[in-house]
């Protein structure tokens, strides 16, 4: 085994590898710094650390706490949304969520079948629990969780504070409520995926984040199922997807889903993200209709399977980087809000 050989192999694919290190000399200084503990068996880990330093973590890459706090912000956004729609005054982050149901919330709730209403309440419970979990996790690890924003920081109509934006009726119309809910959950799924590489150094935190990520995907799936079947349909899952993915989506993302629930406003949720400079080499943020994975165009390579073209994009979800998620999330904050 030849460490120099590995470096030169990488250099062939990435000519700038040495520039990514402080300097070639510095690398070996770091390596020497591991001292006598550097046995053959531990060398791979040591090398992992060096490459992480070179590729993964420049000074501006988010820390574990940065990622957790950003996830917490998104959970505040989601939990506030479900709380405003279904029960309580929107307040999040003070233990168990309020169960008081207002007259206007009753109007919205009654537009759903009991099964669908209960499904929404389960999602609401999960999102409030995610807030509490992340707050505790950040505190336990010695960090400071970002405080819950005032409910007035949000405008879920997308009106930036005038409460009369493109999603006007979000808390009075089941269709609009589900459209916004799907948009928030699909965004969350992409955001957690984008954050995962920065959590890899802490295995327990990584596992916890993955365990939230898949729950967000389950939520997104159920909301899409309900949009397909309609809010009063007790057997929504038995409704086949229609030809228009914006109004009758599959439970997973197909292509770019025609731009999502309200294409004019939700298209970025299914579009490409711009990779920040600190992104580890090789990780990209293509739009959801991407069919190239690990450098292989699956649609052409697997053409002999004779599968529908859409299947190749549906089989993989795609990550989004923090800046793109911020832009999307700001759709639902008021003008002048610095929360995101």
């Amino acid at each position: 085994m030849n460490f120099f050989h590995i470096l030169s192999e990488i250099e062939k694919t990435d000519p700038e590898v040495f520039e990514r290190f402080d300097s070639r000399r510095e690398v070996f200084k770091h390596l020497t710094g591991f001292g006598k503990k550097l046995t053959a068996a531990t060398l791979p880990m040591a090398m992992g650390a060096i490459f992480n330093k070179a590729y993964g973590q420049t000074s501006s890459a988010p820390s574990v706490f940065d990622v957790l706090n950003f996830a917490l912000k998104l959970e505040y956004l989601e939990a506030t949304f479900y709380n405003l729609g279904l029960a309580g005054d929107g307040t999040v982050g003070t233990g168990a969520a309020s169960t008081t149901v207002s007259a206007s919330q009753t109007v919205l709730r009654n537009q759903f079948s009991e099964t669908n209403r209960n499904a929404l309440l389960k999602i609401r419970t999960d999102e409030n629990n995610h807030v509490n979990f992340l707050r505790a996790a950040i505190t336990q690890a010695g960090g400071t969780p970002i405080a819950a924003p005032a409910v007035s920081q949000f405008d879920f109509t997308g009106g930036k504070g005038n409460n009369a934006g493109p999603f006007a009726g979000v808390f009075s119309s089941a269709a609009v409520f589900l459209a916004v809910a799907q948009s928030l959950e699909d965004t969350g799924v992409r955001a957690y995926k984008g954050g995962a590489p920065y959590l890899a150094s802490n295995k327990d935190v990584l596992t916890a984040a993955l365990n939230i990520h898949s729950v967000e995907a389950r939520h997104a799936s159920r909301l899409r199922t309900m949009r397909r079947g309609g809010p009063l349909n007790n057997e929504a899952s038995k409704t086949a997807a229609g030809s228009n993915p914006s109004t009758s989506p599959k439970s997973w993302i197909s292509g770019q889903d025609g731009g999502g629930a309200a294409p004019t406003y939700t298209a970025p949720i299914y579009g490409a993200g711009q990779a920040p400079s600190y992104t580890p080499a090789g990780i990209t943020f293509p739009a959801e209709d991407n069919v190239t994975q690990g450098g292989v165009n699956l649609q052409t390579t697997l053409a002999s399977l004779n599968f529908p073209a859409a299947a190749f994009s549906e089989a993989f979800d795609e990550p989004l980087p923090v800046p793109t998620v911020i832009t999307i999330a700001q759709t639902f904050t008021i003008t002048g809000s610095t929360f995101f």
Binding site: M1, I6, E9, I10, A41, L43, M47, G48, F51, N52, A54, G56, T115, N118, A119, T125, D126, N129, N132, F133, K193, A196, A200, L206, T207, A208, L210, N211, I212, H213, S214, V215, E216, A217, R218, H219, A220, S221, T225, A236, K238, T239, A240, S251, W252, P280, G282, G294, G295, V296, L298, T300, T301, A303, L305, P308, F312, A315, E318, P319
Partner: protein, 246 residues
């Protein structure tokens, strides 16, 4: 010399392996460090206390990033095999052409076969063998059995991916693999939620898969927990050994 892609039209073309080494190479463009490190680990670890993990007749997925990729490949083989097998069963065949369940089972078949073929390509010569499934306990004429098994496989897949993320190396290649695994697991979770809803409407995050009463987290499973279940669907000689994923 037609270049039009006509699947099955040309027998020689059809019989060709789906992938060429060149395409594989692009996947491993960033994996040089891992490949080298693995080689080092293998050549460097000649201690006597190293366990010989190849129990007779079992398929050892290996360790670290490649171990996780092979573990995922094994589970995708199982899922793809299941959705392929059910297409010959009377339950699937009896579904109406435009029924939701047919559309769903078709999509799941496509997705899982694509996942399997992706891992096969990505792993290349590092891939474990094609596994032989044992679906003898599944009644492919019964909706309850077909959807119940689909639910079990999808939930197991999500729990498995979530539980295995921690065993992927943290080098650059590993971070790329982590994102790839993330791209797949959320699709598995979308599958799981829908299949659960088909079995019992609104059960997409019930307490057997999500700790909904406390923190709203998926209940992930360790590789050894997962193979205890997975191995009941694999024939002798194809059962999995995941002792390297620790």
């Amino acid at each position: 010399m037609s270049k039009i892609t006509q699947p099955g039209g040309d027998e020689a073309e059809f019989a060709k392996p789906l992938y060429t080494p060149i395409k594989r190479r692009s996947f491993f463009m960033y994996a040089g460090a891992t490949a080298g490190a693995t080689a080092l680990l293998l050549s460097g670890c000649d201690d006597d206390d190293e366990t010989t993990n190849d129990m007779p007749g079992m398929v050892n997925v290996g360790s670290s990033s490649l171990g996780v990729l092979n573990y995922a490949y094994a589970l995708e083989q199982l899922e793809a095999g299941f959705y392929t097998a059910l297409r010959d069963g009377s339950y699937y065949k009896g579904l109406g052409a435009t029924s939701a369940e047919k559309q769903i089972l078709d999509d799941l078949y496509y997705h899982e076969v694509i996942h399997r073929e992706f891992f096969k390509a990505a792993l290349g010569t590092n891939a474990i063998k094609a596994l032989e499934p044992d679906f003898s306990k599944i009644d492919f004429s019964s909706r309850t059995s077909v959807l119940g098994t689909a639910k079990a496989f999808e939930d197991l897949g999500v729990a498995a991916y979530n539980g295995a993320g921690r065993y992927i190396a943290t080098d650059n290649a590993g971070l790329n693999y982590l994102v790839i695994a993330g791209k797949i697991v959320s699709v598995e979770a979308r599958h799981a939620a829908l299949i659960r809803d088909l079995v019992s409407e609104g059960s997409f995050v019930d307490s057997d898969v999500v700790t909904i009463a406390t923190n709203g987290l998926e209940i992930s499973k360790s590789p050894s927990e997962v193979v205890t279940v997975a191995n009941t669907f694999l024939k002798d000689g194809s059962k999995l050994n995941v002792s390297g994923l620790v």
